[in-house]
């Protein structure tokens, strides 16, 4: 895996802005490419691609409720992106985000609906998020320890813990946290009124704000603070970190705690802001979707925000377009795949160009 490090130099805002604009530009080309290619597939299916993408834009970007849905969906995704940025920049390939997300979600869903009966809502929400961070971090502890003190590759352990966590969260919902008031295996439900507040009377959950704040904070931490730099040194060259007197094991634990904790927080925000409860066997596999986006964003928080927005809008828009034109929803997967590949091609091309310019 390439550990690319961006924004090493401490430049001011203009280059950053320029980078953001460039990223936006670099995503537009692949998007058009992906639409052209998937448009060809649509033609094979005897569907007018213009109609299809008309609906995608209409719903994902133009209709008020569509945009609101897009923005709401972004909240947990941004938190997962932040979680992965911390880990990936530190050279730790935490691929267990889905389980960390689910563990956070399950415990919060079990806890918050009970607590709101006793405590003020704002306190419950705040404590719930804290709980989710702790739970996520605990779930990330084993891979962290194995990596830090035994040198066991975290890709393997986080993948294993992922399978394990998905099963365990399901078992917890069925066997421990099930709502006694319903036959469906699911946790108690947090009443709509007790969820995270919506923004300015819209339908957009304030989870979006939490996500934005956290990912920007993480980006700042990784690029502007001593702690972030230490993590990046560990990520770029662990031998150099040891040589420089950094405690690689401790930093590894810290990275996992933050990364997995944010994964758990993403779960909490999804529950507190949108879902209200967790059903057995529920796994939206958000982290799996976010991994490629974070790579494409080159671990840059701003770029990640852009990609997450793009993908949320595409998801919301495609569901609508598929329904309206009677295209099986599977088609969305094809579009996403094409888009990812083309984005990767563009990213590679841009990297080569940067190299040629000798940056």
């Amino acid at each position: 895996m390439t550990t690319e490090t961006t924004n090493l130099t401490s430049g001011g805002l203009p280059p950053r802005l320029r980078a953001a604009l460039a990223t936006a530009g670099l995503s537009l080309g692949p998007m058009i490419g992906a639409f052209v290619l998937s448009g060809l597939v649509l033609l094979l299916m005897k569907v007018n691609p213009f109609d299809y993408y008309g609906y995608v834009f209409q719903r994902g970007l133009l209709s008020p409720s569509g945009v609101q849905a897009t923005l709401t969906r972004m909240g947990p995704l941004l938190l997962l992106a932040a979680s992965l940025i911390v880990a990936f920049r530190a050279g730790l390939w935490n691929l267990g985000g889905d389980a960390q997300f689910l563990m956070g979600a399950v415990f919060v869903a079990a806890w918050a609906p009970l607590m709101v009966q006793h405590l003020p809502v704002w306190l419950v929400l705040g404590l719930s998020m804290l709980v989710s961070v702790v739970i996520g971090a605990i779930w990330g502890l084993l891979p962290a320890i194995l990596r830090a003190y035994q040198g066991i590759n975290e890709i393997i352990t986080t993948l294993m813990m992922n399978f394990l966590g998905i099963s365990l969260s399901s078992a917890l919902v069925k066997l421990v946290f099930a709502d006694p008031g319903t036959t469906v295996p699911q946790t108690r439900t947090l009443p709509v009124g007790d969820r995270l507040p919506v923004l300015f009377g819209s339908n957009v959950s304030s989870g979006l704000v939490i996500g934005l704040v956290v990912i920007l904070a993480v980006h700042w931490m990784m690029t502007r603070t001593a702690f972030g730099l230490k993590l990046r040194v560990v990520g770029a060259n662990p031998e150099a970190a040891t040589h420089a007197g950094l405690s690689v094991p401790k930093l590894t634990l810290a990275v996992f705690a933050i990364s997995a904790g944010l994964g758990g927080l993403a779960g909490a925000v999804a529950i507190l802001g949108q879902y209200g409860n967790v059903r057995a066997d529920w796994n939206p596999a958000y982290a799996f979707t976010i991994v490629p986006l974070v790579f494409l964003a080159r671990f840059n928080g701003y770029a990640a925000i852009g990609y997450v927005f793009l993908f949320s809008a595409l998801g919301i828009g495609s569901e609508s377009a598929a329904r309206r034109l009677d295209v099986p929803n599977y088609f969305t997967l094809v579009t996403v795949a094409l888009l990812l590949v083309l984005l990767a091609v563009t990213e590679r091309w841009a990297a080569l160009r940067r190299a040629r310019k000798g940056v």
Binding site: M1, T2, M45, L142, L146, Q150, G151, I152, N153, I155, I156, T157, L159, M160, M161, F163, L164, S167, L168, S170, A171, K174, L175, F288, T289, V291, P292, F295, L296, P328, Y330, F331, T332, L333, V334, V336, A337, L338, L340, V341, L343, A344, V345, E347, R348
Partner: protein, 311 residues
């Protein structure tokens, strides 16, 4: 519970172990080649689905199950070829492409299924078992393990073949060099992209066979998303095996045995939640890692694109 553990039942359970093991074994061995050569192949779930679809389609259209396997191998290789093109030739990020290929293959196979089979759900005939003379006469073990479809024997025969390939051939050395120090392979006069392409195509072929086994032998039918995470478990197996084919087989058997044990316990009427039993193989592996603390060494260049002369 009297009379449950008849020969027939034990035979079925053992046969179930084999049926669950073979796709994992093929996926794990396939992933192992790629990883050895330094390509982290996250796309094998997609290769497997394409193998399952291609295998089923050809078997159904031709009426010949063996041709079906060929189709499955080709289906997997198509995804493998894309992986090789994007990651080996163009040097794109392997994780991004791997996930993209998995999503794409899920979408494409589900669409094709929807267009072709979703109203008829055709099912295939059974592949005739090939009793191994002598061994098949052993009570219980004979009918369970040695009266199997020929592809099962072939799948297990791959293990010694791979051991031979890795240990006794130039290709084995080359794969290892491509994964551990591609520049050294290059300067020894062997093209790194060529070796890695061969590896990824071989992965596609094997994993495609694994998918074809699922649709042709294990299920006899294709349904969308039927690989059901088998590919991802293959990745875990390959990583844990640290380059040794026999370990992939061992791991696959453990997983297969756990699945079959789940069934056995339930059929025997033991009330254990399936969620808990499903966790067992993972718990076991984590426990082994925790206690034995084995360093799961991965190839040094795993996941990194090789560009000649770049440092």
């Amino acid at each position: 519970m009297s009379g449950l553990f008849t020969d027939a039942f034990i035979i079925a359970l053992l046969a179930g172990v084999v049926a669950a093991t073979v796709p994992l074994l093929l996926a794990g061995l396939g992933e192992q080649i790629s990883e050895k050569a330094g390509v982290l192949n996250i796309g094998i779930e997609g290769m497997m689905l394409m193998g399952a679809y291609g295998g089923f389609y050809v078997a159904w259209a031709s009426g010949n199950l063996w041709l079906g396997f060929l189709g499955g191998g080709i289906g997997g290789m198509i995804v493998g070829a894309l992986m090789a093109l994007f990651c080996v030739r163009m040097g794109l990020n392997q994780i991004v492409v791997g996930i993209a290929l998995t999503l794409g293959a899920e979408g494409v196979t589900a669409l094709l299924h929807y267009e072709q089979f979703s109203r008829l759900y055709p099912r295939l005939s059974v592949m005739a078992p090939l009793p191994i003379p002598g061994l098949s006469q052993i009570p219980i073990v004979g009918p369970a393990l040695f009266t199997r479809e020929p592809v099962v024997y072939l799948a297990f025969a791959l293990v010694p073949l791979f051991v031979w390939l890795f240990r006794r051939t130039q290709l084995g050395l080359m794969l290892q060099a491509a994964g551990d120090k591609p520049a050294a392979l290059d300067t020894a006069g062997v093209s790194v992209p060529k070796i890695r392409t061969i590896a990824v195509l071989a992965t596609g072929l094997l994993v495609g066979f694994g998918g074809a086994f699922l649709s042709i032998v294990a299920a006899g039918v294709f349904v969308p998303f039927m690989t059901h995470g088998n590919g991802f478990i293959g990745i875990v197996l390959a990583m844990l095996a640290r380059g040794r084919p026999s370990w992939v087989m061992g791991g696959a058997l453990v997983f297969g045995a756990c699945l079959s044990a789940t069934t056995a316990l339930q059929v025997a009427g033991v009330d254990v939640p399936t969620d808990i039993i499903q966790m067992l193989p993972f718990v076991a592996v984590m426990a082994v890692l925790l206690v034995a603390g084995r360093k799961a060494r991965l190839p040094a260049a795993l996941g990194a694109a090789y560009v000649r002369g770049e440092r």
